[in-house]
Subunit: 222 residues, 2 copies
Amino acid sequence: MPDTAQPLPERRLPLSRERVLGCAVDLADESGIAALTIRSLAQSMGTKPMSLYYYVANKDEILDGIVDMVFNEIKSPSPAGDWREEMYRRAHAVRSALKRHPWAVGLLESRSSPGEANLRHHEATLATLRAAGFSVQMTAHAYALLDSYIYGFALQEAALPFDGRDTASEITAPIVERFSTGQYPHMIEIATEHVLKPGYDFGDEFDFGLNLILDGLSRSMR
Amino acid sequence: MPDTAQPLPERRLPLSRERVLGCAVDLADESGIAALTIRSLAQSMGTKPMSLYYYVANKDEILDGIVDMVFNEIKSPSPAGDWREEMYRRAHAVRSALKRHPWAVGLLESRSSPGEANLRHHEATLATLRAAGFSVQMTAHAYALLDSYIYGFALQEAALPFDGRDTASEITAPIVERFSTGQYPHMIEIATEHVLKPGYDFGDEFDFGLNLILDGLSRSMR
DNA sequence: CAAACTTTTCGTACGCTGTACTAAAAAGAT
DNA sequence: ATCTTTTTAGTACAGCGTACGAAAAGTTTG
């Protein structure tokens, strides 16, 4: 029986641009963006490096692509809804997507050509603000302000040494040690009286700033 | 005359950790962070690659080092001054430093161990807020909010395709072209009615958000 | 069925990267 | 003059992105 198609021996899924980008996202999530190389990506897909180049022009295109994959996970705001609620939801949606894929924040700086999902998302955001009655100029202001805050918060979160698994104290203890010279009393104060308190989660800081900003925008409309 | 020390043939400055980091900053400014390699750095200093390793353990230490060089350029706020003025000045100081060295924003995400200048700067910021009467918790809130906004704004600015040299219209024209499908009407509206207006500078958006945030913080204290 | 053509996969090779290891050179001390 | 410490380099290696071209697989046609 020579011609029986063997179904068992690891039927490899056919390659495709989508599968390449999807695996790239997974690999970056698991091992960090630095570990995402053409070679490692090919291996994780059970292929050889050069095979990927049929679906992707070069590595930059992969990086652009996975950033857009992240934006694809984010539900766009609706111009029909209450603008404040929509902006609140959007902010949290973007933040949580960037938390799931921390490498994406770093890529935003280097990649200058936004993908389609990115554009669609921002178009919806602008539409929602305009529909709420913001002037063109105020919409630009609000847009820059909100995005700056969201991205900046995500950037800081990505730079945090702990990723939720460890408690803050496990990590900060050695740092506090290093600070025992007394040069940084206020940092220690914040750390011991706030950050190291049980139940503290840096992510909770997000709401404070977000509400302050939304309050301010709301006032600027009236 | 065999032993005359030749003074003319390019008396090379002696190496040192400071000079290495300084040249690394210059090189990154001129050619981008990707072009900053051990080899290119050595060449720019008139040395050989391996010579640098006497002053620096590895490339990561260079990256950490140049981030801290940037923070060294930033004047810290003073707890003695009016908190709002100090925070306003600091925000602009940080932003302009990050604008001079756009690569620094991207490094913030990947480098997790802050340098001394960074720590000193943030200690001064916390001290100023506490001296102004903010509670420990409010100080943490304000700190996260301000830094998020500043870093996020810098991140967006770094991602902009133009670096001040070209006008906005030169760059956006082809993009607008691509949008002629009509899928992104609000983006076009913002572009044509706001961004493309003569004299527009994205940097000017910074003040709007900054004042809104400072207003909000001011209110939260009262 | 064979031949021709298209789509998809991959082997090899090149110039780049960071840096380990080692040795040479220079400077300073005795 | 000799020894020690500081500083600078040469060589080499593994890993990177990817250009180029060939091989393989799949599809269409005679």
